[in-house]
């Protein structure tokens, strides 16, 4: 029994870490993996999703609907930004770092000025479940399920739909895609909007579990970048194994040696994994696929 | 005559595709040799193996009597190999002159460097484009530039992957003459080509690669008359 609860506990920890990495990196993966844009405002899209979710939930919407609102709001803002700013920077990925950093400054400080330094959150739904001497938040299981669903959905979208193929083509050779009849502006707009919306979704999903402050996006940013990059060029092949590996390392180090080692271990693991697989995990998965 | 390059039992696979199958190949010092074969036969891959860009699964490569298989690419180049790639490998953002300077500065300095740059600009017809960023040159001009980068250092062995692709017949002939010049100066030349007129013009002998393996070898006339080569590569002798 003790053994069983210990296994259950570590599985839960792993699932929890996995869900966090996957959910927080999905939007970034789309924007970086598909468009090559290093979006330093990723955290602010997350914050936007969380804020809208909290506000609408407290206004009386059911939480799932509120989360959807959060995601849609972030997507809408993403599409506006794409149209006004990002569109001019696709062929300059390095400059997109600066522009998105600027956007993130505006967003963080703008929200601080407009809405104040904090905002009241929404409580975590679903309660908890006791097993042995431990109890678990059920909402965390929802997060895990959401992570798995997100991975599957994105894979299907980008690999098994026309939109996905066209989007990938557009990113690789925009001029050629245009010459083949693709409305590349629309593709860019939708892809960026999707990425922003997924970030908003991350914010919405985690809103009930976190402090709502303008800088809350910062908690997600390092983990999400690290996961995307360790995943490698083909983000949809790479993100899941990357999140899994990093989650195992982080969860076990945290369990055995505490949060400091979990934190440092995650970063060291990133360095080691990239060193062993300089093309990221997806390069290895691809070689192994054939 | 001594052999400058010996390749023995070279093998390389990519997943299901075999790009080199038991290749045994030797090149005499001072030869002008052409490598032909169907698209996808493995010609460019063979070059990449020679250059160390791909590591072979098995086999050895000997250059001027030294086993270069364990050497890294840049070390092989320093042994005296020069290459022009199939897709022009130039520095697009840099001026034509800088492209040449970077190509030569390792071997040449001071007056001989500037002199060589001027010479190469002259014979590639790029003198008026010397200050132009290489990326804005037309495709053919980029080809010329890369040829210039490869020959300027007077290598022992010159690898040319489709040097005349995108050139007009006139320019193709000019390239052929230039290669003869270089060869006369003692540079061994191994070229991949699809333009049979050009092959005819330059090659002492020809190797045909097919599905990663050597399919036929011989003089240009033997090869063009080879029924198998006609079938897999040249096509029916009509049109």
């Amino acid at each position: 029994m003790e053994f069983f609860t210990a296994i259950l506990s570590i599985t839960y920890q792993f699932g929890d870490a996995f869900a966090f990495l996957v959910i927080s990196c999905a939007g970034l993966a789309v924007i970086f993996g598909m468009m090559g844009v290093i979006n330093l405002a990723h955290g602010e899209f997350i914050m936007c999703g969380a804020y809208v979710t909290a506000a609408t939930a407290r206004a009386g919407l059911a939480l799932p609907v509120a989360i959807l609102c959060g995601a849609l709001a972030a997507a809408a803002i993403g599409m506006v930004l794409e149209r006004t700013v990002m569109r001019h920077l696709y062929h300059r990925p390095m400059d997109s770092i600066i522009a998105t950093w600027g956007i993130s400054l505006i967003a963080t400080q703008g929200v601080l000025i407009l809405l104040g330094p904090t905002m009241q959150g929404v409580g975590t739904p679903l309660g908890s479940m006791a097993l042995g001497d431990r109890s678990y938040s059920l909402y965390r299981l929802v997060l895990f399920a959401a992570a798995v669903g997100l991975l599957g959905g994105l894979y299907l979208l980008f690999y098994h739909t026309r939109f996905g193929v066209i989007a990938r083509a557009t990113i690789q050779r925009p001029a050629m895609a245009r010459a083949l009849g693709v409305d590349t502006r629309r593709v860019y707009g939708l892809t960026f909007g999707l990425g922003a919306g997924l970030a908003g979704l991350a914010g919405g999903l985690y809103a009930p579990t976190m402090t709502m402050v303008p800088t809350m996006g910062a908690t997600f940013i390092v983990e999400s970048f690290v996961t995307v990059v360790v995943g490698g060029a083909d983000i949809f092949l790479g993100a899941a194994p990357a999140a899994a590996i990093l989650a195992i390392i982080k969860a076990s180090l945290t369990a055995w040696y505490g949060q400091l080692f979990g934190q440092i271990g995650l970063l060291v693991a990133v360095i080691v994994v990239i060193r062993i697989m300089p093309g990221g995990l997806s390069a290895v998965v691809k070689r192994w696929q054939r | 005559m001594t052999q400058i390059l010996q390749v023995s039992k070279l093998n390389k696979r990519f997943g299901g595709v075999t790009v080199a199958r038991d290749i045994d190949f030797a090149l005499d010092e001072g030869a002008m040799h052409c490598l032909i074969g169907p698209n996808g036969a493995g010609k460019s891959s063979f070059f990449r193996l020679l250059l160390g860009e791909h590591a072979p699964d098995s086999g050895t490569i000997t250059f001027r009597g030294r086993d270069i298989t364990p050497l890294r690419s840049f070390q092989r180049i320093r042994e005296g190999i020069s290459v022009k790639f199939q897709v022009p490998g130039i520095f697009k953002a840099l001026s034509v002159r800088q492209n040449l300077q970077i190509a030569f500065q390792h071997h040449l300095h001071g007056a001989s460097l500037t002199g060589t740059i001027r010479q190469v600009l002259d014979f590639t017809g790029l003198t008026s484009e010397a200050a132009t960023p290489a990326g804005v040159l037309s495709h053919g001009q980029q080809q010329w530039l890369e040829i210039g980068m490869a020959v300027g250092v007077e290598p022992r062995l010159l690898l040319l992957d489709e040097p005349t692709a995108g050139m007009s017949p006139d320019e193709t002939r000019k390239t052929g003459e230039m290669l003869h010049d270089l060869n006369a100066r003692g540079i061994t030349i191994l070229a991949v080509e699809h333009d049979m007129a050009f092959v005819q013009q330059i090659a002492h002998s020809v190797t045909v690669l097919h599905m990663g393996a050597i399919f036929a070898q011989g003089s240009i006339d033997q090869i063009t008359a080879h029924p198998g080569v006609q079938e897999i590569y040249l096509g029916a002798v009509d049109a």
Binding site: D183 | G37, P38, P169, H194
Partner: protein, 237 residues
Amino acid sequence: MRDTVLLQTTGLCSGYGGEQVLQGVDLTLNAGEIVAVIGRNGVGKSTLMRTLIGLLPTSAGSIRFGGQDVTQMGANHRALQGIGYIPQGRDVFPDLSVRENLMVGEVAGAGRPAPDYDLINRFFPILKDRARQRAGTLSGGQQQQLAIGRAMVSHPRLMLLDEPSEGIQPSIIKDISRNMRELNAQTGVAVLLVEQNLDLIVSMAQRGYVMEKGRIVATLGPDEISSRDAVRRHLTI
């Protein structure tokens, strides 16, 4: 149908940044014609093609396609109007599989008949064999075949073919020539061919233009274009 003008440019000018490359190109192409544009390296042949498909903006002059002024139209709209583009250097989508590359070709086919993959596979069997391979790892010649196949998918009315022989083995050049003629005969697709390969020009083109320094300096009638010597003469000016 052969006599209806499909493509017409008048005084077409374009270039890169401040630099004018095309300096007033006038050419006409009738429906169903195969017309070659020949000229030395760097005279602006590829620039002409890019301007026609709309990847380069026209700075002066006009382009009419299928009776419509398309000068201000974006490249994607021109593709939807039925212009297929096979660029020099192929520009396949390197990280997409062969099949996915063809799928992108379907976009421009909206409103036209379904893609004829049987025909494409018959012309270029390698595309079927390597359907799942990443296009970036195809050999140069294989990529060229993919680029042509990708343009065929949408049944264009005009194909802009920029040096298709570059890097292609002789037998496939012959195949391309034969296939393009067959396609032309079967579907009436017009072809604007930029080439330097004598065999291909002579065997494919019905007419020709000679380009020099951004201008058309000569036209070649059916007799001249089918003569190797005549063509060679123009290429060596």
